[in-house]
Amino acid sequence: MTPARRATIEFLLDNLVWLMLIVVLIVFSLTVPRFFQFGIFANIIEQSTFVGVMAIGLAIVIISGNLDLSVESTAALAAMVTGLLFATQGIGLGIALEPAWLILPVSLAIAMLVGAAVGMANGFFVVRLGMSAFIVTLASFIWVRGLVVAISGGRSAQSLPAAIRVVGTADILGLPLLAWISVGCFVLFSFIMAKTPFGRYVTLVGGNLEATYRAGINSNRILFVSFVLAGLLAGVAGWLLAIRTSGATANLGVGMLFNAFAAVVIGGVSLKGGIGKLPGVYAGVLLLYSIHTAINLMGLPAHYTQMILGALVLAAVLLDTLKLRLREKLL
């Protein structure tokens, strides 16, 4: 096989999810009525924001060789704290800041802190105490959701001030600001993962922990920071969700974990660790929401969505296995 052909095949295998996304978009555009319009595409990108931002952190933890099941509850906690402090109705305390725009950075910082705190707790138990990430983050998934219900008393906070809601309503160049935020997050973290020593180490630690330890890399710190990042990004996702819904309810974001996991797996991240790239994860999120949108437009009952998504995750894992075999055969 010539090097050029080999490189082409390698490139296609690495970017299979983008290929799938393009094919799916073309098929939907041709077959689903009213699918092919700018508004729909803009909507898909906007819808992808919340799960997308969450999936970045989840992907980083999985690439480092761990697992974080708690991101959904963490996002809900960040959303509830934002709602509780700044919403003016329901259980909201309606804290007002002077000048009014200050609420934006302050609420974002608080949401990120809340998320990072949960991430640190996860990191402490998994990295320092050596407990199983699956169990630790499953426990967090439960207790953090419990905390959300506890601090809200099961009630909801509504009506965030206009100064902060602008994030959920503004458009830039015809695209919703929310869409730009998710694209921005993906660009930023793709860059960090591909171009900085930290990103390199996350991949190396996920590939062979012992080797990185021997090479003098502080592998425990990398694992810990991955958990903190996952929590922090889940916090941002929750903050965006609170703004979008202008408040928070105790069951906000239920089911996001599954979508984020599906996107990460479809995006080519291996659950074994060490393999996967963030642009692929973004394609995975977009693919997921293209399918959501198409199902909505076709007027299928919503419960079919879950069946299709489940099948899609299976297909993605199957594809991953096939890809490995294909690579072994061809390269």
Binding site: T196, R200, G207, E210
Partner: protein
């Protein structure tokens, strides 16, 4: 022997794993620019000793003295910072990353932009290409993941890594296990190159011929103790085998608990 303190000196190093005594007081010295072959039967304590020197394990008692200063390595990172490089028996490569990433693992070339370190891929690739070319190792593409490379190519990367980084002391734990005849010869050449730069080398091997080919001195570990410490040109493979197995044919085993050089001296006299 010389006015300079030895590169590395171990004093009464012992290591217990629970009730098991893996090392029972090992004394040895390694000087700069010297190759020491560490021999011993399976379970004699060679690998434990290497792990202690490389920072992977801490001794239960005893002192590690490097260039005259006592050291206590809490992690491989600390040993590495002190100039000790290790090539492990089970390779330390991340097969999910490419050749360049593995070569530079933990020592990436970066440039700071606004305080953020950015990997300099091209500069790193050039360094790796030169290092591999100098060593005569051929790898189709430096950007292929290591999982697609053969066992020999993988080991070549490890060996080139230590040649390139060097440091002060290199520990090689069964470095040629996966190599063919030609590659092994090249590996032994690499060791000579490294030594010529004044670096000390400790090589663990099972193959007597390799030890005699490359080492200046042979240290035999038996039952967690130094059973023999002899210059390569003053001994024979048969005598070394006696030390390893504790055989008493030539009286080599007798003195193994008393001191370092007595078995060797005893042997030399009897064989001359």
């Amino acid at each position: 022997m010389s006015e300079n303190p030895p590169l590395l000196k171990l004093e009464a190093i012992s290591k217990n794993f629970g009730a098991i005594e893996a090392l029972k007081g090992v004394d040895m010295e390694i000087r700069a620019g010297e190759v020491v072959a560490l021999l011993g039967d399976n379970g004699a304590g060679k690998s434990t000793l290497v792990k202690i020197i490389s920072g992977g394990l801490r001794p239960s008692s005893g002192r590690i003295i490097m260039e005259g200063t006592p050291r206590d390595f809490a992690s491989p990172a600390e040993a590495k910072a002190a100039g000790i490089e290790t090539v492990y028996q089970d390779l330390s490569l991340c097969i999910n990353a490419d050749v360049v990433a593995n070569f530079f693992m933990g020592r990436e070339i970066t440039k700071r932009f606004f305080g953020i370190p950015i990997l300099q891929e091209r500069a790193m690739e050039a360094v790796v290409a030169k290092a591999l070319a100098d060593a005569g190792t051929r790898i189709p593409s430096l950007r292929t993941n290591v999982e697609h490379l053969s066992g020999g190519q993988r080991q070549a990367i490890e060996l080139n890594r230590f040649v390139h980084w060097g440091g002060k002391l290199v520990l090689l734990d069964e470095p040629f296990a996966a190599l063919g005849v030609e590659q092994t010869r090249r590996g032994l050449d690499m060791i000579r190159q490294v030594v010529a730069r004044g670096i000390g080398v400790v090589i663990i091997t099972h193959i007597m011929a390799q030890a005699f080919q490359v080492a200046d001195r042979i240290i035999v570990i038996r039952h967690g103790r130094v059973a023999g410490d002899v210059r390569t040109d003053e001994t024979t493979p048969e005598q070394v085998i006696d030390m390893i197995t504790g055989g008493t044919l030539s009286g080599a085993g007798k003195g193994r608990d008393q001191g370092n050089s007595s078995p060797a001296t005893g042997e030399r006299e009897s064989s001359q």
